[in-house]
C-alpha cells in the first residue's frame, strides 16, 4: 500500500509539472508575438499593482468588487484614454484620486490598451454549448 501511495503521488506530480510547463510555454509554443508596445504595457501592469487598482477593479471578472471591470474600458464608447486619465486624477465617490507621474500614466494606458486588445470580458458575449461550457459568440 505504501509503495502504491508513493507511486501515485509521484505520477500525479509528474503530470502536474508537465501541465505547468505547458502553460508557462504557451507564448513560445503558439508563437505568440507580444502585443505592440508590450514592454510599456508590462510596465503598466506594475503601475496597476503599485497603486493596487485591483483591490477595487477586475480584469476578466477577477479582482476586487467595489468598482467596475476595466478590461475593455479603453475602447468603451464615450470613455477611452482621456476619460481614464481624468478619472484616475480626480477619483469618484468611492475611488480616491491617484497622483501618477506622466510616465506611469502612459504605461498604465498601454496596459489597459493591451487588456482591451486581448479580448472581451463582457459575459454577454458568450453562449453556452451542449456540455455546459461557455464559448465566445
Amino acid at each position: 500500500m505504501k509503495i502504491k501511495v508513493k507511486l501515485i503521488f509521484a505520477l500525479l506530480c509528474v503530470a502536474f509539472v508537465i501541465y505547468s510547463l505547458s502553460i508557462y510555454l504557451v507564448p513560445i509554443r503558439k508563437h505568440l508575438n507580444s502585443a505592440p508596445n508590450a514592454t510599456l504595457a508590462s510596465k503598466g501592469r506594475l503601475v496597476w499593482q503599485d497603486y493596487n487598482c485591483e483591490s477595487c477593479h477586475q480584469l476578466y471578472g477577477l479582482g476586487g468588487y467595489m468598482g467596475p471591470d476595466l478590461t475593455n474600458i479603453y475602447s468603451c464608447k464615450g470613455k477611452g484614454p482621456i476619460y481614464i486619465k481624468a478619472l484616475v486624477k480626480s477619483g469618484t465617490g468611492l475611488m480616491p484620486p491617484f497622483h501618477l507621474t506622466e510616465e506611469e500614466e502612459t504605461n498604465l494606458l498601454h496596459f489597459l490598451r493591451s487588456t482591451d486588445e486581448s479580448g472581451s470580458a463582457d459575459p454577454r458575449n458568450f453562449t453556452i454549448n451542449a456540455l455546459g461550457m461557455i464559448e465566445k459568440k
Binding site: M1, K2, V5, I8, F9, L12, A15, F16, Y19, S20, I23, Y24, V26, P27, L32, S34, A35, A38, T39, A41, S42, R45, L46, Q49, D50, Y51, N52, E54, S55, C56, Q58, L59, Y60, G61, L62, G63, G64, Y65, M66, G67, P68, D69, G91, G93, L94, P96, S114, T115, S118, G119, A121, P123, R124, F126, I128, L131, G132, M133, I134, K136
Partner: protein, 462 residues
C-alpha cells in the same frame, strides 16, 4: 517560561489567533467602505484596509495550519520537531508580517491580489517555509507508515512552497508581456494555493477526528487515501474554473471544468463515516473541538454545493465577477477553514489548566453567534451577487453606480453581520489566548499537561 518549555505548535496557534483578531477588525473597518461614502478615503482607505484584512486572515490560516502540524507531530512522532528551527521559522514570519503591514500602511504595494505587499517581503515567507519543510522531514522520516493526514500535511507544505514561488513568476518580463498567459498563471496559483492549505487543514480535521473517535484505522483506509488523491488531483488541475471567460487555450478551461466535477464525491463520505463512530463520552471530553468540527461539516455542505454549481461554466457566467464569489470565499475560509482551526485550538489548548467544557455558556453563545452571523453574512453576499449577476447579463444596463446603489441594503446587512461575527469570534479568540497566556506563558507546571482522554504518543502505534 524558558526556551526548553516552549511549545512550538501552541506558539504558532497563539500567533495565528492574534492575526485572526486583527484580520477581523480590518475586515469590519473595510466593510464600512461599502456603506459609508467617503469613509476614511483620504487617509488609510479601502485600498489599504482590504489587503490588511486579506493578509491577516490568510496568515491566520497559514500560521494556524503550521501550528496544527507542529501540535500534531508532538503526538504522532517519536522524533520531536526542532524548537530552534521552529523559532527561526516563527521569527522569519514576524519579520515578514512587520514588513508587510509597514508596506500597507505606507501604501507601498506592488504585489498582486491577496499578496499586495512589496514583493521583497515574500522572501522571509519563503525562508520560513523552507525551514518548516526541513523540520517536518527531519522528524517524520523515522516514521515507517504514514496515516493519510501526514500525507496531506506534507502535500500541503510542498505545494504551498511551489505555488507561492510560482506566484512571483510575473517578476520576469517574459510572463508580464503576455497578458493572457500571465493571468492564467495568476489564477493557477490562486487555485492551487487554496488547495495547499486546504490539504493541511483537512489533514488536521482528519487528525482531530482520529483523536476524538479513538479510531486509528480510519487514517489508513483505502477510502481515506482515495479521497486524499482526489483532493490532490483537484489541487493540481481544477483551477481552470476561475477563468472560464479568459481567452486562454480551450484545454485549460475543459480541464478545470472536468476535474472540478470530480469533487462531487469528495467530502461527504469521510465526515459521514467518522461521526457515527464518536461516542457520547468522547463528545463530552472534546466538546468544543467536536462542535467546531461539526460546524465545519455543515459549512462544507453549503459551500461545496455552491462551489460545484459555480464550477459549471453555464452557471459561472452569471456568478463570475460578483459577490457570489466573495460569499464562496468567505464561506469556505470562515465556515470551513476557520472552524477546523478553532476546533484544533480548543483541542490543543485544553489541559488540566484550562478545560473548555459544556458548562461554559459564554463559549456556547459565541459559537452560535459566529454560526448565525456567518450565515446572514453569506446570504447577504449571495443576494448582492445574484443581483449583480442579473445586471451583468442584462441586454440594457443601468449605470454601474446605480446598480451598486441598489445593492446598498445587502451591504448594510453584510456589514452588520460582519460586526456580530467580529464580536463572536473575538470572544473565542480571547478565551483561547487567555488560556495560552495563563497555561503556557505563566505556569511552568502545566506545560505538556495531558489532555483529558488524550492519546499520548506512547499509546499511538503507527
Amino acid at each position: 517560561m524558558s526556551f526548553k518549555q516552549l511549545n512550538s505548535g501552541k506558539l504558532f496557534l497563539a500567533s495565528s489567533l492574534v492575526m485572526l483578531f486583527f484580520g477581523l477588525i480590518m475586515g469590519s473597518l473595510a466593510s464600512l467602505s461599502y456603506v459609508l461614502p467617503n469613509y476614511l478615503k483620504d487617509t488609510i482607505g479601502f485600498v489599504s484596509l482590504r489587503p490588511m484584512h486579506v493578509s491577516s486572515v490568510l496568515f491566520w490560516i497559514i500560521l494556524g495550519a503550521s501550528g496544527c502540524i507542529y501540535s500534531g507531530l508532538e503526538y504522532v512522532s517519536e522524533q520531536k520537531p526542532s524548537k530552534t528551527l521552529a523559532t527561526i521559522q516563527w521569527a522569519l514570519w514576524l519579520v515578514a508580517i512587520v514588513g508587510i503591514f509597514y508596506s500597507y500602511f505606507t501604501k507601498q504595494f506592488g504585489g498582486r491580489e491577496y499578496w499586495e505587499f512589496n514583493p521583497i517581503w515574500a522572501l522571509p515567507i519563503i525562508g520560513a517555509w523552507v525551514v518548516f519543510l526541513f523540520n517536518f522531514f527531519r522528524c517524520t522520516r523515522v516514521l515507517k507508515k504514514w496515516p493519510v493526514y501526514m500525507w496531506m500535511w506534507m502535500t500541503g507544505m510542498i505545494f504551498f512552497l511551489f505555488t507561492f514561488i510560482e506566484n512571483y513568476l510575473w517578476v520576469f518580463p517574459y510572463f508580464r508581456t503576455h497578458f493572457i498567459t500571465d493571468m492564467t498563471i495568476q489564477w493557477k496559483v490562486n487555485g492551487s494555493l487554496v488547495g495547499s492549505w486546504n490539504q493541511i487543514i483537512y489533514g488536521t480535521a482528519f487528525f482531530l477526528m482520529d483523536r476524538i473517535s479513538g479510531n486509528k484505522k480510519a487514517g489508513f483506509s483505502k477510502l481515506a487515501f482515495g479521497m486524499y488523491f482526489l483532493g490532490l488531483f483537484n489541487l493540481m488541475f481544477n483551477w481552470g474554473h476561475h477563468i472560464y471567460t479568459l481567452p486562454t487555450l480551450p484545454y485549460v478551461r475543459y480541464m478545470g471544468y472536468g476535474v472540478s466535477m470530480t469533487e462531487w464525491i469528495i467530502f461527504a463520505r469521510i465526515f459521514y463515516t467518522w461521526r457515527v463512530s464518536v461516542s457520547d463520552v468522547q463528545k463530552h471530553y472534546h466538546y468544543f473541538p467536536f462542535r467546531f468540527l461539526f460546524a465545519a461539516d455543515a459549512w462544507v455542505f453549503f459551500n461545496l454545493g455552491q462551489a460545484l454549481l459555480m464550477s459549471i461554466p453555464a452557471i459561472n457566467i452569471y456568478t463570475h465577477g460578483t459577490h457570489v464569489t466573495v460569499a464562496h470565499a468567505m464561506g469556505t475560509t470562515i465556515g470551513i477553514n476557520s472552524m477546523i482551526l478553532l476546533a484544533a485550538c480548543f483541542e490543543f489548548f485544553s489541559g488540566k489548566c484550562s478545560s473548555f467544557n459544556k458548562a461554559n455558556v459564554g463559549l456556547s453563545i459565541a459559537f452560535w453567534g459566529a454560526q448565525v452571523s456567518l450565515f446572514a453574512f453569506w446570504i447577504a453576499l449571495n443576494a448582492a451577487g445574484i443581483k449583480k449577476g442579473i445586471w451583468q447579463m442584462a441586454s440594457v444596463q443601468i449605470p454601474y453606480g446605480k446598480m451598486m446603489q441598489s445593492l446598498h441594503p445587502y451591504f448594510v446587512v453584510f456589514a452588520i453581520a460582519g460586526f456580530f461575527l467580529l464580536i463572536s469570534i473575538t470572544i473565542l479568540v480571547f478565551v483561547l489566548l487567555r488560556s495560552y497566556v495563563r497555561c503556557e506563558l505563566r505556569s511552568v507546571n502545566e506545560i505538556n499537561a495531558p489532555l483529558p482522554n488524550s492519546i499520548t504518543s506512547s499509546t499511538i502505534k503507527l
